[in-house]
């Protein structure tokens, strides 16, 4: 498989806490490093800080793709206004 992979998209991705939307991401880039670490950098269009729960078992990044979506658990999250940087777990769906 890929040693280094970068994904980005124009379709809105979302951060979700359970079935609640925590953030709508207007632009986003997902990077898989050669060491296998997934990370996200994004700009949110809407964000609800109360629902941002990095490390929680129900806190996920949902990324639309052709015919479906990808789900990444969000391990850590750094917010600077609407700019976000996160480390992700491996794709679960």
């Amino acid at each position: 498989m890929f040693r280094h992979l970068v994904l980005s998209g124009r379709a809105e991705a979302t951060l979700v806490f359970g079935y609640h939307t925590a953030a709508v991401l207007a632009s986003w880039t997902i990077d898989k490093s050669p060491a296998g670490v997934w990370s996200l950098s994004a700009t949110a269009r809407e964000l609800d800080p109360i629902k941002c729960r990095p490390g929680d078992r129900d806190f996920y990044l949902v990324v639309p793709r052709k015919g479906g979506y990808w789900l990444f658990p969000v391990r850590t999250l750094i917010r600077d206004g609407l700019s976000l940087a996160a480390t992700l777990g491996p794709i679960e769906h």
């Binding site: 979302t14 979700v16 806490f17 079935y19 609640h20 939307t21 129900d58 949902v62 979506y69």
Partner: protein, 165 residues
């Protein structure tokens, strides 16, 4: 006092279909459910509550996903992804297409879930208040004390006012 975690519960209908529902509603979701049975007439300022809409509003408030199929056996999708909330307009439209018996089954299953969750929270409240050994359904005291609030003894404890004096 605490916030409501957005937890999901899987239930099975009598007809075998599976549904996913909210474990419980938070304040916003409850407010939206109540608002769903109210119409506001801008011209007259009148607020009209339609009890006939309450079953549909309850289903819309709780239902997150299901395994319902159409007449061709294809899954009727109501959720964009496994973490999404169904679009209200789409859900309303799909519910209207259900067989009435299936609709009643769906409502009864959700109502039963709401009742179970209410009972569970009552037990939790008793546990939190330090009454951990209390029976979830406790007996009424043998003699009424103070004013009854609904589930007490059948003997009335409040004397109705007399209109003759």
């Amino acid at each position: 006092m605490q916030t409501v975690r957005p937890a999901e519960v899987q239930l099975t209908l009598a007809n075998g279909a599976r549904i996913t529902v909210r474990r419980r509603l938070n304040v916003r979701e409850q407010r939206e459910m109540y608002a769903d049975v109210i119409t506001f007439n801008r011209a007259t300022g009148e607020v009209v509550r339609n009890p006939l809409e309450l079953p549909r509003a309850t289903i819309c408030a709780y239902l997150l996903d299901w395994t319902v199929t159409d007449d061709r056996g294809e899954l009727v999708t109501i959720r964009d992804h496994p973490r999404a909330v169904p679009d209200k307009a789409r859900l309303d439209a799909v519910l209207d297409e259900l067989d009435p018996d299936d609709y009643a089954d769906l409502l009864a299953t959700i109502d039963a879930h709401i009742g179970r969750e209410k009972d569970r929270r009552e037990v939790e409240k008793k546990t939190r208040s330090g009454n951990a050994n209390a029976d979830p359904i406790s007996n009424s005291p043998s003699e009424p004390v103070g004013v009854s609030t609904g589930s007490g003894p059948l003997t009335p404890t409040i004397t109705p006012p007399s209109w003759n004096s």
